[in-house]
Symmetry: C2
DNA sequence: CCATCGCATTGACATATGTCGATACGTAAG
DNA sequence: CTTACGTATCGACATATGTCAATGCGATGG
């Protein structure tokens, strides 16, 4: 199972170098919106520090229901920040580090 | 006039190094939420590329009403990303680069 | 085949957010 | 003082978002 992000590449303009056009601003705000939630940030940090994590191991540390976890992983995957792999009946998640790096760079890194 | 951010320092933990605790996640999500809007991103990029910008010069390029601009500058200022200075009846804005750098670092920079 | 398990989707709900017109506030100019 | 101007706040509205119970779907195991 491969989630396909619906966000365009953030590659080119840095926030601090030149005024963002509307398209770039919208696409960057999409990724930032995916990050702008405490539960998703903690989810992302948990996955990042374990390399790979199964969905089933996220409910307990985050204190949220299974549908809520599923919703948040979907949001992060659509933003290109999480990548999923289905093994048997489990779904494993890992962080797309390059995507995170793109975000940092778009923020003027 | 000095806007005081209501967000705590983001200094310490990086997203990718260890699981974020709830407080860190909430405070980081606050700043990211301020960034997660196309109008605010463009606003920020305009201020950044002009060093300083008057509120009155933001309505036209952003195509938003004066109350809306005022709202967005307030959100960015409360997030610590914009700093204001009142001169006569005009308010001038500049970007707090160090705050942006904090965000990048919190994102694993 | 049937029961079970992990995950996704749906529907509903409360809350948060972006937007603008109307209005209030402060400062500057006459 | 009065007027005009730039900005902030308020009230209202439509839309977006986070959450969960209920349910659907696929794969596994008996």
């Amino acid at each position: 199972m491969i989630e396909v992000g619906d966000e365009a590449a953030l590659c080119c303009p840095s926030l601090t170098s030149a005024p963002l056009d509307e398209g770039a601003a919208t696409s960057l705000s999409g990724v930032l919106g995916a990050l702008a939630d405490p539960v998703r940030l903690r989810l992302l940090s948990i996955v990042a520090s374990h390399q790979e994590v199964c969905s089933c191991d996220l409910e307990a540390p985050l204190g949220k229901s299974q549908p809520t976890i599923s919703h948040h992983t979907k949001v992060l995957a659509e933003a290109g920040l999480l990548v999923s792999e289905k093994r048997g009946r489990w779904v494993w998640w890992r962080v797309d580090e390059s995507r995170l790096a793109e975000v940092r760079r778009a923020l003027g890194g």
